[in-house]
């Protein structure tokens, strides 16, 4: 039986959230801008597909565009277009061992927030009135995904809840405070549609769980030590740089969209048998990194051979 492409569900869910945000939640953007950024993302995908000579597939670009429309705000259309360009081109240009490093939406937002004060993300825009509606929509994604790489979502939710609840218990705050922080649409979007991106998370389950915990700890640092907004976005971008290292230490099967949800191209013993072999692997990592580092560069057409992995 042909498996249902989880990206189609994501596109549907994100579109619903965007429509709801534009009509009921007074998002600080317009229909025109939302359409523009989605169109720009798909356009950028087409251009990059031509340049890198891979088959054009608009689905992942549509997801990136929708996510940008949901999250990124600016008075200037130029920055929105730039975001779409950065998101898509990062997938093609910033790669390591045939896999892109950053979640496209995440890197576009973070890069622009570093580059200019004229863009912002409003984590409060969702409120928490319709939280449970969002939750159900997002959970639907897990069902469609057949829980293939939902482990990173579960691990992150567990780690982040532990951070928030632990902090409030330590400070003697009522639990309504961490619950209020967890009932946030932006957090759901991040957890179910951004950090779970199978193309940028570590290959092994253990690696993904480690990654999720690191992202939660990083977000804690940004939010509660630096008192900076959007801790989860900053932390994901920073932790994404660690994914190649995690993949070397804890290797696993590479994900491809084509095989849909539960595809594993490596035998299962790689998933959990990392502990006994960890030391030799660290040694080989040191060796591999010498070999692998030159490939971490920005260049055209170098990965033509891994075309199927590029598309999303």
């Amino acid at each position: 039986m042909k498996r249902f492409d989880p990206r189609l569900y994501q596109i549907g869910a994100l579109t619903l959230l965007l429509l709801y945000g534009l009509t009921a939640l007074d998002f600080d953007t317009t229909w025109f801008r939302a359409a523009l950024v989605i169109g720009a993302a798909i356009g950028a995908q087409w251009v990059c597909s031509r340049i890198w000579n891979v088959k054009f597939d608009p689905r992942s670009a549509a997801i990136s565009g929708l996510s940008l429309a949901l999250l990124l705000r600016s008075n200037s259309i130029v920055f929105l277009l730039a975001a779409a360009g950065i998101a898509i081109s990062s997938k093609f240009a910033i790669r390591w061992r045939g896999k892109h490093i950053f979640n496209p939406t995440n890197i576009a937002i973070v890069a622009l927030m570093i580059a200019t004060p004229r863009v912002w993300v409003s984590p409060g825009q969702w409120g928490n009135v319709a939280f449970f509606g969002f939750l159900i929509t997002c959970l639907g994604g897990l069902v469609v995904n057949r829980a293939s790489r939902s482990d990173v979502t579960y691990a992150f939710i567990a780690a982040w809840s532990a951070v928030l609840i632990g902090r409030s218990l330590w400070f003697g705050e009522p639990l309504t405070i961490p619950l209020h922080r967890l009932e946030n649409g932006a957090l759901l979007l991040f957890t179910f549609f951004m950090i779970s991106d199978p193309k940028t998370t570590p290959d092994s389950r253990a690696g993904r769980i480690l990654f999720a915990v690191l992202v939660a700890l990083g977000a804690r640092y940004v939010q509660f030590k630096l008192f900076h907004t959007n801790g989860i976005l900053w932390s994901l971008a920073a932790c994404s740089l660690l994914v190649p290292i995690i993949d070397v230490l804890l290797p696993g099967g590479r994900y491809t969209w084509k095989q849909g949800g539960s595809s594993w191209s490596v035998s299962p013993q790689w998933r959990w048998h990392f502990v006994p072999g960890l030391l030799p692997r660290i040694r080989s990592a040191a060796f591999m990194s010498q070999r692998a580092m030159p490939r971490f560069s920005i260049a055209r057409r170098r990965w033509r051979s891994s075309a199927t992995a590029i598309a999303p």
């Binding site: 863009v119 409003s122 825009q125 400070f171 705050e173």
Partner: protein, 398 residues
């Protein structure tokens, strides 16, 4: 509450609408750092009045209106302090309760203490012993601030100084501090409040609009045509409008009432603040040299929130965005043409006028939650049925 913020620097100006006896007034505010004498200043009340007048919701024409002067701040209702104790005795008692009086200042008409504490019970006891009525439940809230290493800014009125200065009101207190935290502690104020609290935040920043990061911030409905009689009832209209919007949003949002570059306004409810006034409010980056040309680089956001413990469980956390789009809450009055004429165009106009007034009535009802029939009555709209509006069966048997 005015918050001037740039980088990690904040200047907070606390104004209040306290109407009781001065000796009944006291505030306890958690602050992120120790505050020295030089960081405290007493401001002129006119500053906040001007800020309010400049940013108040308005009618689009320059009609006289009553700007809604409803300040509120996070204040714990407290009773008068008891007889003044000797400072030394006070301090040793404080120490035994784990409370440290970090500093003690008299600034203007206020006696100000900066306290730090190691345990909430001790702080609560100390405040009680010093005559502050602490609501039950405050202890746990105080405790969470203590654990976050926050200090407590405690102010009460020095009656002697107050009398000497001769003001009939209490002037705003200003505190300047440096901290990455851009937040307002509102939890103390909700502990035992009888009902929801009301808070205005005037944020003055360099880059752009300020919004909450942990609650929704939305714009108050604006640019809506309303009946002419609103001119006479602007304050009740605005109060009803705000209450209705709070109800519609389930009391879980902050409302932006004004967001504007401080250099200009259109229409102006009051003149923009002068460079000197901006500096007095704490906008340290504004040059007070009259010869320095150019824009003042101040963006004002006026936020209005009604909150209680149930809907606002955590303190308000803000961020400055890059949004420089101007916004004002304004309501439009359209005076109908009242001349007499029989031409075809006049008939069309009159028919359209009727529809327009009907629309104004329903706008007003929807904005404020007022009964549309009452609104119609006040507008002297006797009947809404024009021949065109009648259903086909209504004319058959006439």
């Amino acid at each position: 509450m005015a918050l001037v913020r740039d980088g990690d620097r904040t200047v907070m100006t606390m104004a209040n609408d306290f109407h009781g006896e001065p000796h009944d007034f006291a505030i306890v505010i958690p602050v992120p750092t120790l505050i020295t004498r030089g960081q405290i200043h007493i401001a002129d009340k006119a500053l906040i009045d001007h800020l309010d007048a400049y940013s108040a919701p308005r009618l689009v024409e320059y009609f006289d209106y009553d700007p809604c002067r409803m300040y509120a701040m996070d204040r714990m209702p407290m009773s008068a302090p008891m007889n003044a104790q000797k400072a030394a005795r006070e301090e040793s008692r404080a120490r035994s309760l784990g409370v440290t009086i970090e500093a003690r200042y008299t600034v203007g008409e206020y006696d100000i203490l900066i306290l730090s504490a190691t345990q909430s019970n001790g702080l609560e006891t100390w405040l009680r012993e010093n005559g502050y009525t602490i609501p039950p439940g405050a202890s746990s809230v105080l405790g969470s601030y203590i654990r976050q290493n926050m200090k407590f800014f405690v102010a009460k009125v020095n009656l002697g100084e107050h009398e000497k200065l001769g003001y009939s009101y209490l002037r705003p207190i200003q505190v300047a501090y440096e901290s990455p935290k851009f937040m307002l502690p509102v939890r103390l104020g909700t502990v035992n409040a009888a009902g929801p609290q009301e808070l205005f935040v005037y944020a003055l920043t360099r880059k752009g609009r300020v919004e909450a990061t942990n609650y929704r911030t939305i714009k108050l409905p604006s640019d809506v045509d309303v009946p002419l009689y609103v001119k006479e009832e602007f304050t009740p209209f605005y109060k009803a409008l705000f209450s209705e919007q709070v109800r519609k949003e389930n009391m879980s949002t902050l409302f932006t009432e004004y967001a504007w570059d401080m250099n200009w306004c259109d229409p102006c409810a009051a003149d923009p603040l002068s460079r000197q006034e901006l500096r007095n409010l704490g906008a340290f980056w504004v040059s007070n040299d009259p010869n320095s040309g150019g824009a003042a680089e101040v963006f004002l956001t006026r936020l209005h929130v009604r909150y209680d413990r149930e809907h606002f469980p955590e303190d308000l956390v803000f961020q400055e965005t890059g949004d420089r789009q101007n916004f004002q809450a304004r309501y439009v009055l359209r005076h109908p043409w009242t001349g007499s004429s029989d031409c075809e165009a006049a008939k069309t106009y009159k028919a359209s006028l009727r529809q327009r007034q009907e629309k104004e009535a329903s706008n007003l009802a929807s904005l404020t939650g007022w009964n549309v029939n009452d609104v119609r009555r006040k507008m002297n709209l006797v009947s809404t049925d024009t021949p065109a509006d009648k259903k086909w069966w209504q004319t058959i048997w006439q």
